[in-house]
């Protein structure tokens, strides 16, 4: 049983959906938010419609709503993950240059991305594992990471084999440098500060020592 497995056995790690819900709680009404493909997209499910948060999709959709009922699908309306979505009243469309002008221009309040690694200097690696077997594919990740003033990462705390995803320096190819502001994992919520990672809260049953034992980069309480 590796260190990670021991730690996980001693507490109740969150599921992906629980992390998404935890993150969603921290998004106030009125924010403009881009959710990266994969797990981050689930965050939208936990923001109640009466709390108006405006979701943007890189493919030119501002004011995205939930998935449509099968009988109401608009086949020209998808999100960045190429899933059918809806448009909320007040939503609008724009072309790709305008969409990324919005992203690069820093107009979003928040972007949530998944990641392979986040480093204590705020670097993020989320687009490539240097696996030369498949072609590189960056999509909009670098634009979102470099452009959004507030980048939160949603990811498992460790890899399946127990390696820390919060690292001193990323070993995978970088997506952007010094941009991550907060990390939501299945074990904790961790802020990025000028002094590195600072733990905001942990799942019940977890101690800072136990969390540190599965984390490569040094941690302190916020």
């Amino acid at each position: 049983m590796n260190a990670a497995a021991k730690v996980l056995a001693g507490c109740k790690p969150m599921t992906r959906r629980e992390i998404a819900a935890r993150l969603a709680d921290d998004i106030p009404e009125g924010w403009y938010v881009n959710l990266g493909i994969g797990a981050p997209l689930q965050v939208a499910d936990y923001v109640p419609a009466e709390r108006e948060v405006i979701f943007q999709s890189e493919n030119g959709v501002l004011g995205m709503g939930p998935a449509p009922a099968p009988e109401n699908i608009n086949r020209w309306l998808i999100n960045a993950g190429k899933q059918y979505v809806t448009l909320r009243p007040g939503g609008s469309y724009m072309h790709h240059a305008d969409s990324f002008a919005l992203i690069r221009g820093g107009h979003l309040d928040l972007c949530v991305l998944g990641a392979f690694q986040v480093a204590e200097n705020g670097d993020i690696a989320n687009w490539s594992t240097s696996d030369n077997e498949s072609a590189p594919a960056v999509g909009g990740a670098m634009d979102l990471a470099a452009g959004t003033p507030r980048l939160w990462v949603l990811m498992e705390h460790t890899t399946k084999t127990g390696e820390s995803r919060l690292v001193r320096r990323c070993s995978y190819p970088l997506t952007a440098i010094g941009v991550v502001k907060r990390v939501y994992t299945n074990l904790a919520v961790i802020d990025m500060t000028n002094e590195g990672f600072a733990v905001r809260d942990m799942v019940p049953g977890l101690t800072l020592d136990a969390l540190q034992s599965v984390t490569d980069a040094p941690l302190r309480m916020a």
Partner: protein, 227 residues
């Protein structure tokens, strides 16, 4: 009388040369002009450079074009949609060159081409391997890299409505790269779901004005499949 509506695919594809840079609209298959891509396959131009956000799915549309072996290079942000079987095989066999570009940089490089801007600084990709070999500069305390315009010889565009002047509207998120590419190419060819009378499009709602369009082919082919 200006009339950009062409009568058939042969007229739409006339004159596309070997070696052309071809911009192909769409995000996945939404807004992708698959019928025009079929026409380009038929037309036979080779040694092409294709610019498209994705690299094709299964064996249809863009994937079918790649499968002909006539695409020398693809410039693309995400060559990994659902079923990129054709592209992956070509790429592993070294039979196609890939330039992987961040999606927003790709869009802005084409916007710049259409706007007469030869190069611009951007924060995207700074400090990453996609910035390798690019000029870097610090401006007001932040690091940026220089990116160049990406013009096309030909753009293949899918529209929702078009009139005989070539004014275009798009439907929902099928807008995506289409208006940007229409403005970035020397020869812009459009497939449109609907042809409307001149003057019936709302002047406040035209997304691509006809100045960016050369040929319009009426292709009322129905709904896209998401892939």
């Amino acid at each position: 009388m200006i009339n950009k509506i062409v009568k058939d695919m042969a007229e739409a594809m006339a004159g596309i040369r070997d070696g052309s840079v071809v911009l192909i609209g769409g995000f996945g298959s939404i807004g992708q002009p698959n019928v025009l891509i079929g026409g380009l396959i038929e037309q036979g131009a080779k040694d092409l450079t294709v610019v498209a956000n994705n690299s094709g799915v299964g064996h249809v549309g863009l994937a079918a074009l790649l499968e002909t072996g006539r695409v020398r290079k693809i410039i693309c942000s995400f060559p990994r949609t659902a079923d990129p079987v054709v592209f992956e095989k070509l790429w592993r066999e070294g039979r196609i060159e890939l330039e992987c570009v961040p999606q927003g940089t790709m869009a802005e490089r084409m916007r710049a081409a259409g706007a007469g801007i030869p190069a611009f600084f951007t924060p995207t990709a700074v400090g990453t391997k996609l910035a390798a070999g690019k000029e870097e500069r610090e401006i007001n305390g932040r690091r940026y890299i220089l990116e160049e315009a990406l013009p096309g010889d030909v753009a293949l565009v899918e529209a929702w409505e078009a009139d005989r002047w070539g004014n275009l509207t798009y439907k929902s998120s099928a807008r995506n790269f289409n208006p940007v590419m229409a403005a970035a190419a020397k020869l812009t060819i459009v497939q449109t779901q609907h042809i409307v009378e001149l003057g019936t499009l709302d002047a406040e709602k035209v997304v691509t004005p006809g100045i960016y369009v050369n040929r319009v082919l009426h292709v009322p082919y129905g709904e896209p499949t998401v892939t």
